[in-house]
């Protein structure tokens, strides 16, 4: 294991700024726990290898290629804010590989960068035996700044050089051996996206481990001030780049710039952004709809019939077992599974956008908007993550350097419409709006953005009115052709998460709902009670009047919202249970919804449906998001956010219903 560096010869990284650690709950301590508990354990005694590099340098892609795990990847800065860890096996040797959050340098400006610095600089069980620095050959000079700082520590260092193809297009040729000689550490060229050169990297790491820890790079003036140290580092980098590269001067036209002429244009950029998002949701609903219908027919027809027949053969027909299995688990979980094609399509399209590099442009396009609510354009990145799932989005606020900005962004994340809410939108909009369902869903996503802006503005001019602005500094990665392997991998990881929810939370809530629906209030026996006379309906009736001003104060509708507090996927399963039990008919949920909304709204079903959808959009997404907020911004702000979401959702629903009735 590496030992503490010799302070006489080594230029120390600058101290961590106070604002990086001024958090109520220090995220570093949490992340250190993550490091102690790996995603997949390595054999005891495996050498610890840390993977570091600039944001968006392809670290997570390399980590996945080396370990076979599925850490989150994307072609935009700030994709990795957590630490991933897993065994890296090569040639009979196993390394314990950790993927640290992206950092341009060991002078952190945000908590995720501070974590990377902390693990490399501080002595302790998490200090790596070898550091692999992933450097971008197309942006070599700036990639080497981190290398020079790592070389100033008493650590073994191996440079993994990627993006050689992009450098080649720009007329730049890199000689790894000459570069390695200039840097004083091995340099291995590779392509993480196509998994080329991974064996050579393992060999270089093994050779590095076989030798002792090399002497740190010494600076000419060990006691020089930070400015002089930086000058010395840049001179060192210039010398290394000169020694290790050849520029043919035949750089081809940059097609990334040409795309950006439109994609980041002051007027065209926002239009492109809206068109891209509309196309995603339109394609999702159009392509997935036939598959969804087929699955719906399958679960409500043959699967339910076969289960009922099997139970009848066992003498359990009409019993509580049939109620739980057919009307509960099959109806609830089956309803959720019908959304798998839709979710897969949306996850794949968003993964394509992320891998292409477009998301960083989306952050630039929305920068002005974000600035209006006191946040930098970079804050848009966690909000974009929120459109997939709010839980990682709350964690992704760590890319922001200012703690007040982090709290504000974490409070706004629940207003971004996550994919779980999409399941509710799809069922309700296809039932009530038919062929226009895709456009209504798109309108809901626009409404989601309006909620973020509106609530952000309100908070900016009240509780956050003293917060200073931070200028836009955002690295724009070159566009790249998405690869099938990465798109498929990201899609599968997210789909697996969706299915995990289905198998965990949904089964638990289905059982809880079934139990409440089986307990009679007044006359009746357990499991043999009409759902309207059950404890479930009685509890829902207590809450339902609150939603009467919004036009959906019926217990059948409101009960699903209460269950949906746990997770939005549970809204569908609870409806499926409620209506299946009510009429003994697992299918035709849409018909039941039409009747319920018409009755509850006094003959204004469409305004009531719109109000319901807006409420689903704006109220607390799930308990997992609350847990993530509690971890990131503390209990006090989490409670504030809970009240904020419920108040905004209720007020907006009431306004939508009443205005809708006037139209």
């Amino acid at each position: 294991m590496a030992t503490r560096t010799d302070k006489r010869n080594v230029a120390r990284p600058t101290p961590v700024p106070a604002h990086v650690h001024d958090h109520e709950h220090d995220p570093l301590s949490l992340e250190r726990e993550c490091c102690v508990v790996p995603d997949l354990p390595s054999p005891a005694g495996s050498p610890l290898v840390a993977l570091v590099g600039a944001p968006n340098s392809g670290k997570s892609t390399l980590f996945n290629g080396l370990t076979g795990l599925k850490s989150k990847t994307g072609n935009w800065p700030g994709t990795s804010v957590d630490v991933a860890r897993g065994p890296w096996r090569s040639g009979g040797v196993t390394f314990d590989l950790i993927d640290l959050p992206g950092a341009y340098a060991l002078d952190p400006l945000s908590p995720d960068e501070a974590l990377t610095r902390d693990l490399l600089v501080t002595d302790g069980p998490g200090r790596p035996d070898v550091v692999v620095v992933l450097a971008d050959a197309a942006h070599l000079a700036r990639s080497l700044y981190l290398v020079t700082q790592v070389r100033e520590l008493r650590l073994r260092c191996v440079v993994a050089l990627s993006m050689l193809d992009v450098a080649s297009v720009r007329g730049l040729t890199v000689d790894p051996d000459a570069l390695g000689a200039a840097l004083g550490c091995p340099v291995v060229s590779l392509d993480p996206r196509r998994r080329v050169g991974l064996g050579a990297l393992a060999d270089a790491v093994a050779q590095s481990l076989a030798g002792g820890v090399p002497a740190p790079r010494t600076t000419a003036e060990p006691d020089a001030d930070e400015l002089a140290r930086e000058d010395e580092r840049f001179a060192f980098i210039d010398a290394a780049v000169t020694a290790g590269t050849r520029d043919s001067g035949t750089s081809r036209a940059n097609w990334s710039d040409r795309i950006d002429q439109v994609a980041t244009h002051p007027v065209g950029g926002p239009l492109v952004f809206l068109a891209v998002m509309w196309a995603v949701f339109q394609a999702t609903t159009t392509v997935a709809a036939p598959l969804q219908d087929a699955l719906d027919s399958f679960f409500s027809g043959p699967v339910s019939d076969a289960a009922a027949a099997a139970l009848a053969a066992l003498g359990l027909g009409g019993s509580w077992v049939e109620g739980l299995l057919v009307n509960g688990l099959i109806a609830g979980v089956g309803m959720l599974l019908t959304f798998v094609p839709l979710m897969a399509m949306m996850f794949a399209l968003l993964a394509l956008l992320e891998d292409s590099g477009y998301m960083a442009r989306a952050a630039v396009v929305t920068d002005r908007l974000m600035r209006a609510i006191g946040l930098p354009g970079k804050a848009f990145l966690p909000l974009v993550v929120g459109f997939g799932c709010n839980v990682p989005a709350v964690s992704a606020t760590r890319i922001l350097s200012n703690s007040r900005q982090r709290v504000l962004t974490a409070l706004l994340v629940p207003f971004t419409s996550c994919s779980a809410r999409l399941t509710v939108y799809m069922l309700v909009t296809t039932t009530f709006f038919g062929a226009n369902a895709g456009t209504v869903v798109f309108a809901l996503y626009v409404t989601s953005i309006l909620f973020v802006i509106g609530v952000g503005l309100a908070l900016r001019h009240t509780l956050w009115r003293t917060m200073g602005a931070e200028p836009l500094i955002l690295d724009l990665p070159p566009y790249q052709r998405p690869t099938l392997a990465i798109t498929a991998g990201v899609t599968w990881v997210r789909l697996k998460g969706f299915l995990k929810t289905a198998s965990g939370i949904i089964v638990a809530t289905v059982c809880a709902v079934w139990l409440l629906q089986s307990i009679p209030v007044g006359l009746g026996t357990f499991g043999q009670v009409p759902v309207g006379d059950s404890l479930y309906a009685s509890l829902a009736r207590l809450v339902a009047p609150i939603f009467a001003p919004a036009g959906f104060g019926a217990w059948e509708l409101v009960s699903a919202l209460v269950v949906g507090f746990v997770a939005k996927e549970a809204v569908l399963s609870s409806w499926a249970q409620t209506f299946a039990i009510a009429d003994g008919d697992p299918g035709h949920l849409g018909g039941h919804l039409i009747d319920s909304f018409a009755a509850a709204s006094g003959g204004h079903p469409l305004p009531a449906v719109a109000a319901f959808l807006v409420f689903v959009l704006a109220y607390t997404p799930c308990v997992a998001t609350l847990a993530a907020q509690q971890r990131e911004i503390g209990g006090r702000w989490t409670l504030f956010g809970l009240g904020l979401n419920l108040s905004v959702a209720w007020l907006a629903a009431v306004v939508v219903f009443n205005v809708g009735c006037l139209l």
């Binding site: 197309a138 930086e230 926002p270 500094i473």
Partner: protein
């Protein structure tokens, strides 16, 4: 002239800044330090610009551009 006043698509040299140390260090890490050659390649909303430096593209806000001094490359 400041980078805000500089024309698009001309090769420029960064000669100075009035940024605080933290922002200056962040820009340095992105290749934007005194002596670096750069080029403005795109106007963005709100006066921001995309800067081409060392083969990379970095979006910089208007308030930052005003505090960076450049001159035309020889």
């Amino acid at each position: 002239m400041t980078l805000m006043q500089a024309p698009l698509n001309r090769t420029l040299v960064l000669v100075g800044s009035t940024l605080d140390a933290t922002q200056a260090r962040r820009l340095s890490a992105l290749g934007l330090r005194a002596g670096a050659q750069l080029r403005l390649v795109q106007r963005l909303a709100g006066g921001a610009r995309v800067v081409a430096v060392a083969g990379a593209r970095v979006a910089l806000g208007a308030s930052l551009l005003d505090r960076l001094t450049v001159e035309a490359a020889a």
